[in-house]
Symmetry: C2
Subunit: 141 residues, 2 copies
């Protein structure tokens, strides 16, 4: 059991804090979102509003699927669509006070989890790699 | 320690077998690759040849980055580029006989691992979600 040290770590200790998380804003169009994704190198990132409230996730599969026409991918329609029209808004939101053990459950189906504080403001993300890194050390250690 | 049952599982038992793995072939252009990625919903898939030898990985970040011009993403050049020109060819290749514990190491930095048999033919993939699912059950007891 990688209990003890690993399970005693808090989400706050393990997460990537909001200032280091690539994201887009409500109101951005898909062309902008695709540029942010491409330049950051990530395949999915959070969608926030100017108050740093979390609204959903946008990903390259979601963007590409939204412009998939009958005959080809219709890239010209990227600038006419906004992130809020296609983003995944039903996502797990983990409280800063949550335990690592509960996050392990959610990470089975989500490559990263969005962390919120008690007032619903975006605090950071917890990616699979961070948790796998600690589990790996616990198993080996 | 999630030893015992979890660590005794073999890669073969846990992997997604090749017939269920979305992939593209050497020689396909990036427009085709992007369509396969979009329709499958995955962000990265293996690149194989007609003999089912593994050559690398292609992903939406790699594709988008390859057509990122100075002013915009140049979608029209997708049909003129082939997967072998941009794919990631330096990737871990895990033998079917490898242990789960060695794969845990690699999964810290790779969302999935490609599995090969002794002759270098593609057998399947081991994604993070499968291993996280088993680790989660082992930790929960
Ligand atoms: N620039 C980079 N440097 C080193 N390794 C890189 C990398 N970009 C991607 N990777 C590797 O690829 C995995 C999948 O990245 P992806 O962008 O699909 O999926 C990412 C992305 O959607 C999101 N993510 C991670 N860090 C982020 C950040 N700083 N800002 C926004 N989103 C992030 O969390 C998902 C899972 O991340 P995780 O670290 O578990 O897993 C990452 C990591 O192992
Ligand atoms: N159709 C679907 N149904 C249910 N969940 C889905 C899904 N598509 C994606 N996911 C979820 O999103 C995660 C990241 O998918 P992604 O395509 O970026 O990254 C995937 C993809 O690059 C590759 N992969 C997984 N299954 C594949 C398959 N059958 N064929 C080709 N590549 C696959 O392995 C990576 C890690 O997969 P993992 O399962 O750990 O993690 C998956 C899974 O938790």
């Amino acid at each position: 059991l990688p209990s003890g040290e690993f399970l005693e770590l808090t989400i706050k200790q393990l997460m990537i804090p909001s200032e280091r998380v690539a994201h887009v804003q409500i109101g951005n169009n898909l062309e902008h979102a695709l540029l942010v994704l491409t330049k950051s190198g990530y395949t999915a990132i959070p969608v926030l509003d100017p108050h740093y409230k979390l609204h959903g996730l946008i990903s390259t599969p979601i963007i590409m699927d939204s412009i998939l026409g009958l005959e080809r991918i219709e890239f010209e329609s990227l600038e006419n669509k906004r992130v809020e029209e296609v983003m995944k808004s039903s996502i797990p939101r983990v409280k800063l006070s949550a335990s690592i053990i509960d996050s392990l459950d959610l990470l089975v189906n989500h490559p990263f989890l969005c962390i919120e504080n008690e007032d619903g403001f975006f605090e950071g993300i917890l990616p699979r790699s961070t948790v796998l890194n600690h589990l790996n050390k616990a198993v080996k250690g």
